[in-house]
């Protein structure tokens, strides 16, 4: 009799245990975004997670939690040290931002603190000048910088973010010295500086620059990516214009979990999240907002993170 009861009890525990795992997620999930509400990352995160509650996706809604501050450091510090690794706390990552910050130091995370799940978007950096600027190509920019070393001012959204990486790459590839002016308040403030003529040029997000160009406020002179963008088929890449610059500054956005999250949960997420991103409604909203999508699976993201870390360590070594 005792044996029977023990057997039943054992069977029940394994049954419930197995069921709990198979049923992940069984309650709503939270996703931390380390930028403020209304920013590009927040805006895109809300769109790509809006179908999470559908049966063909995770079956549970994802709520966005903003933890902005210090270029994302506050949110990622929290995610690495305080977030629970139970699969119910996801985080949005921005590459190259968090890897560049961890290379530079002073934060409690590195690429090893997180497990990537999937990538949803890739927003390349572009070089912009005001609509009335005499410069019409990257050669004009570089020639001016050669004649006036250190005098060409150009804005970007802070230090150790994609824009700064693009600026460093440009200076290195063209062999010139320019004055990179980091602004507070993200890409919008950097764009305002260009339109208002406070600086001579700027590095900005392709999505924001595309809108500003449509409005007739700026010219886009080059894309810091391997290929031209479908939003801007007429704008050549930096490589086409003769500068050896790859896609290290492209702002990749995606989903990750803290290290220590159960492997079973990671597997479920890695299988379902890219499918969730492929939803038609998501693609339509992203397209409408001028946000380029780039879906990558967990394995692809892992490789991309590793490649970025090597490039960035090399690029930031001298700083």
């Amino acid at each position: 009799m005792k044996k029977l009861i023990a057997g039943v009890a054992l069977a029940l525990t394994t049954l419930t245990g197995g069921a709990a795992l198979a049923e992940y997620p069984e309650r709503p999930i939270m996703m931390m975004v380390s930028y403020g509400a209304g920013g590009a990352t927040d805006f895109q995160a809300r769109i790509v997670t809006m179908t999470a509650g559908n049966e063909d996706a995770l079956g549970m809604p994802i709520a966005i939690l903003n933890k902005p501050g210090a270029g994302g450091r506050v949110g990622w510090n929290w995610f690495a040290t305080q977030a629970e690794a139970d699969g119910y706390t996801l985080g949005a990552y921005n590459i190259p931002h968090f890897i560049a910050q961890s290379v530079k130091g002073g934060v409690s995370y590195s690429a090893d603190s997180f497990e990537p799940i999937a990538n949803w978007g890739a927003d390349p950096a572009v070089f912009v000048v005001a609509a009335d600027s005499p410069m019409n190509s990257m050669d004009d920019v570089v020639n001016y910088a050669k004649e006036n070393p250190g005098k060409l001012t150009f804005s970007g959204a802070g230090l150790f973010v994609g824009h700064h990486i693009a600026a460093l790459q440009l200076e290195k590839a063209a062999g010139v010295k320019m004055a990179y002016i980091p602004t507070k308040g993200g890409g919008a403030a950097a764009m305002k500086a260009v339109i208002a003529g406070e600086v001579m040029g700027g590095v900005n997000n392709l999505s924001d620059a595309y809108r500003a160009e449509q409005a007739g406020n700026i010219k886009i002179l080059g894309v810091f990516d391997l290929e031209r963008s479908s939003f801007l088929p007429d704008v050549p890449t930096l490589k086409e214009q003769g500068y050896d610059i790859d896609d290290a500054s492209v702002n990749f956005r995606g989903v990750m979990v803290p290290k220590g999250t159960p492997q079973e949960v990671i597997d479920v997420l890695a299988a379902k999240v890219p499918e969730m991103f492929r939803n038609d409604a998501v693609a339509k909203k992203m397209e409408a907002g001028g946000s380029p999508m780039h879906i990558m699976t967990r394995d692809e993201v892992k490789k991309m993170w590793e490649a970025r870390e090597t490039t960035l360590k090399d690029l930031l070594a001298g700083l």
């Binding site: 403020g36 509400a37 209304g38 920013g39 927040d42 805006f43 809300r46 769109i47 809006m50 939690l65 903003n66 933890k67 902005p68 501050g69 210090a70 270029g71 450091r73 506050v74 510090n77 929290w78 040290t81 305080q82 910050q101 530079k104 002073g106 250190g150 005098k151 060409l152 001012t153 802070g158 230090l159 150790f160 004055a179 002016i181 980091p182 602004t183 507070k184 919008a188 403030a189 764009m191 305002k192 500086a193 339109i195 208002a196 003529g197 406070e198 600086v199 924001d208 809108r211 500003a212 449509q214 409005a215 007739g216 406020n217 909203k285 397209e287 409408a288 907002g289 001028g290 946000s291």
Partner: protein
């Protein structure tokens, strides 16, 4: 006059229903401590996913206008400013409520909000193309001088003495340096992980204003003979309308200051109320009454922070540059529907653009009507016994600061600053200058660093910060403002000594 053609769309049943929901919901969200207009609008964005673009924007526009005005409710009744915009409202508004004039203060604040708000939106409608250029005219050096101008206001704001005002301003400036420096990423004074992102302004507001009051109320004890029950005076709406009309100076100073400051990207509504309050005080013959429950203070502060709503959207709607955090959230709401602000918006989607703007206009009026309706009821809050009130305010303070970003860190910051402020107040320091320092510090610092980087690469520091008409004009105003404060201080000292001689 194109906007008149699109008024019909605002009054369609669904649209008008959303406008009502946005307005009433906005008032409630705005009156909740910790929920700033930016957060209220961000909370509503997911609901607009399933609405048509016009309808979604009506909801967001109405919520934006009424949360700003709703913040006055908690500022007046509980002395908790809902957002930085409402700080100045607490100075006279709460004193009025304590005297039993809560209904009058609320009525005046809603009327002043509506007047300022309508004028602000009208400016947005008629002058947008000209104002856009003005918004762009402020570069780093100008914003730096503007922040310095704000610092000179600190001394004369709600303090017994200029020196104590400046000292508490300095404490605020120091607190503002805590956290990762936004431009360089350097760590400053981070002795607790909760401080990594710096001191959250909303948490600081709640702590600095609400907690000293809670401690004072608890300190009084709960003996029935000591709990004074305030007689809440009834106040007719007509009397409030008449009073507004009799105070054209405060109303116009508030509206003009709010509209101008609202335009400037990056400074925005945070300081509009405080600067307007200070100006109204300086120009008023009854300036001694300010801070003691004077109606001009409420009128100037509230007309300013609603007048700023319309102009603050100018950079967003014309240049696609969000000039304030709330405008950034609204930009997200537009983009989700594939609408790019800028010339595209007015050329290709005039129905969306004008209906949105019109809804803010109608929203101001609706907000005023509902506000006046609840004012006399809400004013009864003052009758709640003090020891009960203390518990409620404390609960709201904890809830409000936690809800900013679901973080206990903000609650600790709120509590620590509040306890500090309790002791500072006992020595005659006040919270308003401290908060102003906290707001202006980062603006001054970031613009100085950015400006000096541009200056070093181009013309040099001297000509960048001191050259050009606008820089010189701003410096002149800064000097005038300092001179005025010094003069007032000297004059009041002379009076004191006279009294001492004859007294």
């Amino acid at each position: 006059m194109e906007f008149l053609n699109y008024f019909g769309a605002v009054f369609e049943p669904v649209a008008f229903g959303l406008l009502l929901i946005g307005t009433i919901g906005g008032l409630i969200l705005g009156a909740t401590p910790g929920l700033s207009p930016t957060m209220a609008v961000a909370l509503l964005i997911p609901f607009t996913f399933h609405l048509a673009p016009v309808q979604g924007l009506i909801l967001l526009g109405a919520a934006y206008t009424s949360t700003v005005a709703g913040g006055a409710v908690s500022a007046i009744l509980l002395k908790i400013p809902g957002a930085p915009a409402n700080i100045a409202t607490t100075l006279d508004g709460h004193t009025m409520a304590q005297k039993g004039e809560g209904a009058r203060a609320l009525q005046l604040s809603f009327l002043a909000s509506a007047v300022g708000g309508v004028i602000g939106v009208l400016l947005l409608i008629f002058l947008t193309p000209y104002l856009a250029q003005w918004a762009l005219a402020f570069g780093p050096s100008h914003l730096f001088w503007l922040a310095i101008l704000g610092v000179t206001v600190i001394g004369s704001l709600d303090s017994a003495s200029v020196v104590k005002g400046l000292l508490s301003g300095c404490i605020g400036l120091w607190l503002a340096t805590i956290g990762f420096d936004d431009i360089m990423g350097a760590q400053r004074f981070i002795f607790h992980p909760a401080l990594g992102g710096g001191i959250n302004i909303i948490a600081a507001l709640i702590g600095l204003f609400a907690i000293p009051q809670v401690i004072t109320m608890f300190a009084k004890g709960r003996r029935p003979d000591e709990t004074e029950v305030i007689a809440v005076q009834k106040h007719s709406i007509m009397a409030a309308v008449r009073e507004i009309i009799r105070r054209p100076r405060a109303l116009s100073i508030g509206t003009i200051t709010g509209a101008i400051i609202g335009l400037i990207p990056g400074v925005g509504g945070q300081i509009a109320g405080l600067v307007a309050y200070d100006q109204a005080k300086k120009f008023s013959p009854e300036r001694a009454k300010f801070g003691k429950g004077h109606s001009e203070g409420v009128i100037a502060a509230e007309s300013a922070n609603n007048a700023m709503v319309g102009p603050s959207l100018v950079p967003l709607l014309t240049l696609s540059i969000p000039g304030s955090p709330t405008a950034a959230v609204l930009l997200g709401g537009l983009l989700i529907h594939g609408i790019f602000p800028g010339t595209d918006l007015f050329d290709n989607h005039p129905d969306v653009a004008w209906t949105f703007i019109n809804s803010m206009l109608i929203g101001q009026v609706l907000m005023c009507i509902f506000g006046l309706y609840v004012a006399s009821l809400a004013a009864r809050v003052a009758q709640v016994p003090q020891y009960v009130m203390a518990a409620i305010v404390l609960g709201l303070a904890v809830f409000g600061s936690y809800s900013i970003q679901s973080s206990m860190g903000d609650v600790y910051v709120m509590a620590a600053l509040g306890i500090m402020m309790y002791f500072l107040e006992r020595f005659g320091f006040s919270a308003a200058p401290l908060v102003l320092g906290l707001i202006l510090g980062p603006i001054a610092e970031a613009n100085f660093i950015q400006g000096s980087m541009i200056a070093e690469a181009t013309t040099g520091m001297g000509s960048y910060f001191f050259g050009g008409t606008m820089n010189i004009a701003l410096i002149a105003i800064v000097i005038a403002s300092i001179a005025y404060s010094v003069w007032m201080e000297l004059r009041s000292r002379r009076y004191i000594s006279k009294e001492e001689i004859y007294g």
